[in-house]
């Protein structure tokens, strides 16, 4: 049979039972729609995580203090006060391919200004911190090496702090008080949004780490060291060199620090969303298979119903292959039709989810192509058995069938 007439015959057969065809296609519509929506949500989550990872800065290596233990109780990473600013200086001085190093001291404090107060993160950092984090300032400037050396009482603040303490004015040049010490505001940071772990990165006051250690927290150890390597291909070597250097500086004591590259952090963070995408996709895939079984069911009913028609066609000269093609095309049309509607519906549902829940949603071309191709494949796969059953009918029996 010629292809156009095959298509025409198949369309007519589907139109003959419009309701049934639509319900059958609904299985595929839901399946494809679900796959696209779920994968879009998963991809959106992954993209968000990746954006957050990128917001950490580029080619970052972090050194955390090790765990401390006392009397059998073991603290987690970062609990031991073993990392010092000297470690940071040593890394900067001795490890090759290191662009910048910033020691970091973290603390939460009540901050006062302008007659208002606000509990926020007060972080002590090095002057290169903003550069390492790829964090621009909207106004003013970062403090300098000189400020660090002289324990200056200057600070750079995030957007959230500006909103809370200086709602209607320019904070530059004004001062805020931390533990009753006045710090002059010399810069305002650009909006960075939420971190990988859900905290508001803009809710921060950054001061020189030396000022932090001597004037604010009075600590002798630092919370972590941020290091920027000169290129992504150097990360592993720099990490190794840092580990070697710090081990050497510990002079044979147990290593009491942990070195992580950004990629490791990113891998851990994206792993979750990857798993989620896979899981959602798999669940949606199951519904696509169920839809396919629906098609098979209906095609089997259709073959039985149209046994006489098949008999007539075989008697007047149709080959088994002609009948097979006819039913297969019918199944493929049904599932592709469902697939196309499903794509539209899936994209629409993705947009709705992102509109009402504010989740980022990313409809990927590949998921659309795969879903449509898969739905057509479902048509072939689940249409083949009924079609072959039709093609193998004996014309005499088929003609006699009531």
């Amino acid at each position: 049979m010629r292809f156009t007439s095959v298509i025409r015959v198949a369309l007519r057969a589907l139109r003959r039972n419009t309701m049934r065809s639509m319900l059958t296609a609904l299985g595929i519509i839901i399946g494809v729609g679900a796959v696209i929506t779920m994968v879009s949500i998963g991809n959106g989550a992954k993209a968000q995580v990746e954006a957050q990872v990128a917001s950490l800065g580029q080619n970052i290596i972090s050194v955390f203090p090790g765990s401390f233990s006392s009397g059998g109780m073991r603290g987690g990473y970062g609990s031991a006060p073993t990392l010092t600013p000297e470690d940071a200086d040593a890394i900067m001085a001795e490890v090759e391919d290191v662009d910048a190093v910033s020691p970091e001291v973290r603390d939460r404090n009540q901050v006062l200004a302008n007659g208002l107060n606000w509990n926020t993160n007060v972080n002590g950092e090095g002057p290169d911190y903003a550069m390492i984090r790829n964090w621009r300032l909207v106004s003013g400037a970062m403090f300098t090496d000189q400020d660090v050396k002289s324990l200056s009482k200057v600070c750079v603040i995030g957007k959230t702090v500006v909103d809370q303490l200086f709602p209607n004015e320019d904070p530059i040049g004004q001062s805020l008080r931390i533990r009753n010490l006045p710090f002059r505001i010399i810069g305002v940071l650009d909006v960075k949004g939420f971190s990988l772990f859900g905290s508001d990165q803009d809710d921060v006051v950054i001061i020189p780490y030396t000022s932090h250690m001597r004037r604010v927290s009075r600590r002798t150890s630092i919370s972590m060291i941020q290091i920027q390597a000169s290129g992504p291909e150097k990360l592993d070597k720099v990490k190794q060199d840092i580990e070697d250097l710090l081990t050497q500086r510990r002079k044979g004591r147990e290593p009491d620090f942990t070195v992580r590259t950004q990629e490791e952090i990113a891998a851990a963070a994206t792993q979750t969303s990857k798993t989620m995408t896979l899981l959602l996709g798999a669940i949606a895939g199951v519904s696509l298979v169920v839809g396919g079984i629906g098609i098979m069911n209906i095609m089997l009913v259709s073959v039985t119903e149209r046994t006489r028609e098949i008999g007539i066609r075989l008697a007047i000269g149709a080959h088994g292959r002609d009948v097979l093609t006819q039913f297969l095309i019918e199944a493929i049309l049904l599932s592709s039709f469902g697939g196309i509607i499903g794509v539209t519906l899936g994209i629409g549902a993705s947009e709705l989810v992102s509109y009402y829940n504010g989740w980022p949603v990313l409809v990927s071309t590949s998921s659309v192509v795969i879903a449509v191709a898969f739905s057509a494949a479902v048509g072939v796969f689940f249409g083949f058995y009924p079609a072959r059953k039709a093609a193998q009918l004996d014309p005499i029996d088929a003609l006699r069938y009531e």
Partner: protein
């Protein structure tokens, strides 16, 4: 001239049941071009089996069947389908038209298969229209089967049987589902086709229908028990004329009462 149908000592045994059924037990038969054969017999006489064999829908268990000189036994399933498509036309008792498919498209159907599939759609349409014209239904070409009377449906089926210019037109109880008047009309169509040189073989169990044919074959228990030319052959036009008169007379008798 070689016969269109040549059957020599053909047997058909069905092995599917518990006991093998010997439906056709050695039939030999030659049918020449232009013949109009009625195949008669009681139910169970093997006439349907013989018809299936003639129609290449089934293969004989034993014996030879040459259709237009071609040995059926040597052909596979697809070659048999092509042979049916090219050399045979089928007319069934239950019409067997495709539902929700117009008369014209039903007639086009055989041209969608076999070697005709390369014809252009215009060509296919013209040929189907021509065949509908032959059976006098060209004005109903866009009607669906459920919009046609039984006789009209059977004429569409005949047109479908003719469309590939078959060597033999096989009709299995073509008047079985029709009233006597429509039966005669359909037989009229067959007679007209036969006059144009088309070979027709039909199965029937009605004696008066068989009398429209030229040759009567009687089957009993799987063998041919009688094979003779039709005596006192009926001509459809005359029979219709008689029927008209009878109906007119019936109306006359009813007229005063009404």
């Amino acid at each position: 001239m070689a016969p269109v149908v040549h059957i020599a000592d053909i047997h058909k045994i069905y092995e599917s049941g518990e006991v093998p059924v010997h439906a056709v037990r050695g039939v030999s038969l030659d049918i020449h071009k232009g013949e109009f054969v009625a195949l008669m017999g009681a139910s169970g006489s093997g006439k349907s089996t013989l018809m299936n064999l003639l129609g290449c829908l089934d293969r004989p268990t034993r014996g030879t069947y040459l259709l237009d000189g071609i040995d059926i036994d040597k052909l596979d399933r697809n070659e048999l389908a092509d042979l049916r498509n090219q050399k045979l036309g089928f007319v069934f008792q239950g019409f067997n038209l495709l539902a929700r498919t117009t008369a014209l498209e039903n007639v086009e159907l055989p041209m969608l298969y076999g070697r005709h599939r390369r014809h252009s759609s215009a060509e296919v349409r013209d040929r189907a229209m021509h065949c509908l014209d032959i059976v006098g239904l060209s004005d109903r070409s866009d009607h669906f089967p459920n919009q046609l009377s039984g006789g009209q449906q059977q004429r569409v089926a005949i047109a479908r049987g003719l469309v590939n210019q078959p060597h033999v037109l096989l009709a299995d109880e073509p008047t079985g589902n029709l009233d006597s008047r429509t039966s005669i009309e359909v037989m009229g169509v067959f007679q007209k086709l036969n006059e144009q040189g088309i070979t027709i073989v039909m199965v029937t169990h009605e004696l008066d229908i068989a009398r429209f044919c030229k040759r009567n074959l009687i089957l009993r228990d799987g063998v041919v028990v009688r094979d003779e030319p039709t005596h006192d052959r009926s001509i459809a036009e005359e029979a219709l004329g008689l029927l008209h008169q009878a109906e007119a007379a019936a109306k006359l008798t009813h007229a005063p009462a009404a």
